[in-house]
Amino acid sequence: MKSISLLAPGHRGCAGCCDAMAAKFTLMGAGEDCIVVSPTGCLEVMTTPYPETSWDVPWIHSLFENAGAVASGIEAALKALGKQGTKVIAMGGDGATMDIGLQALSGAFERGHNFTYVCIDNEAYMNTGVQRSAGTPYGASTTTSPAGKVSFGNPRLKKNMPAIMVAHGSPYVATTSLAYPKDMIAKVKKATEIEGPTYIHCHAPCTTGWGFDTSKTVEVARMAVQTGLWPLYEVEDGKVTKVRKIGANKKPVEEYLKMQRRFKHLFTMEGGADEIAKIQAMADKNIEEFGL
């Protein structure tokens, strides 16, 4: 593990920014011999205002929806030019990964390119002002799924992206959390060392979009894991091989929800308790399914 971050300070991220943490942990796992692709999003904007850059590794941004394809081309070119050893990493937000970039990502995994894709999931389009994405959880209020007199916020469940990547036959899929950096760094390292397309899905609380104090990013992330809403697991060749147990530390979902402005309406609106009960059921299902 390198002691000096390959993501230089001085970027434009908010205080407590999840993207900066996720990118830093990813690079700590990948090492300096890598090429990074970022689709359009907060991470790209905050780290590369021309002529400045925070990246101490080769880095490329092309468009919003094509990171999987750009990574494919880089990997193919390295192979064609006989440049062995350089790892290819793509790092994108939930919108770029689960919505607009899903086709390119699916194609890249189906073709079996040797690269690692890291989804930094802060559960909405934060760069454009907190609009709903396929990563937005049930009941969250966003600017395009606002809570209102007849709305409890986002009416749909979060897309199960890790399962989709497992279904592509990926040899390694893992979930991570910003509250467990050593776990994330180890998983990224493992992913980049496995031949083939590997996938890391990082749960990344956004201080601005979720509405919590800038000092609480890690605490919110930890609570998501401890409630069972964000299970940490590894899937190798289609089989769950490792989970992080919650055991006696298990917390009710209220403790996670009440930390964030985006769920505030669940505690004030009539019928909110029923909604919280539904979210608790989702956590309980995770706990049962993964044996947390």
Binding site: E32, P58, I60, L81
Partner: protein, 404 residues
Amino acid sequence: MARETKMDKQKMVVVEGSYAVANAVRVCKPNVISAYPITPQTHIVEELSKFMADGEIPNCEYINVESEFSALSALVGSSAVGARSYSATTSQGLELMHEVLFNVAGMRLPIVMTVANRAVSAPINIWNDHQDSISQRDTGWIQLYAENIQEVSDMTAQAFKISEDRDVMMPCMTCMDGFILSHVYEPLVLLEQEITDEFLPPFRPERILDSKNPLTFGAFADPNIYTEFRYQQERAMQNALKKIEDTANEFYDMYGRHFGGLIDEYRTEDADIIIMAMGSIIGTIKDVIDRLRERNVKVGLLKVRAFRPFPAEAIMNVIRDVKVVVVLDKNISLGMNAGALFIETKSVLYNTDIDVPVIGYMMGQGGRDVPMSTIEKIISDAEEVMRSGIKIESQFTDLKEELV
């Protein structure tokens, strides 16, 4: 200026246009090919796939992508790593690439792509016209249009050389008429490996993605700097004007074949009427001109080979002293009732001392045949313009009034 091309009959073979292009791509030694099948581009990518299967393109990876959008996106990555990168597409595929086309040009990646020109939907139509590539004229790609399969084969090597030039570093579309050139069998000299190895040096860009020297590609530019990036792209396009001409001449010196640089001319010396056009229709026009010249009609041809960058000066030099210019377009700018070559030609003449009437005809849409009789009719219209001025400035040809 036209230079005499003597074809070496001993070296000529009869192949399909798509094979000629695929072979030319192979000879140019690409490192990454990325493409998605679409009619009538398919034979090109099938031939390239056969070459790959037979191990005939060394140090090359072929990516079977899931869309045209990803076809070109993959080449953004590969070209940035320093790989010579190629794709081929047409019509809907090219339109799907629209966003990536701008991105490639803005990142100054010298990707070469064959476009087997085809009409765009709706109504869906798989036959030839130029609407697909013309609609991409502002994306920052050099656009070259070929007259026959010999030209598009040779153009492939020229395109890599032009694009990869350090003063240019802009991507290039080599445009060939779908079916009319992509699926036709004609005798030609296949692009020669030995000469091409000398003509086209290996791709060695100044800046690449390399972990030993980490660089940032695709940073965002705020209002303080964005204009300067755009300016430099335009300057590169202006540099390409000379490079296209020089490359055609250098190609002639080494291979003995020349089909024009920015433009080409045919029987223009004493012409009163000049016909301007692009693509495979050039052959038909030449035949009509030969026939009319026997009847002492002073008509000549200005073949536009480079549509972007637009060869304003070269065109003006040819039409400066003629009596009427006729522009044929296999495309239309809807709402303008005119084709793009006509619009551009008229626009470059304004604010100059050249005062020549220009008339335009939109034709061949969706693959409708343009017979010699249509061209003859247009030339007789032009003679009428010489006598009594312009009556209709721009119009559709061979319109079936009974169907509208």
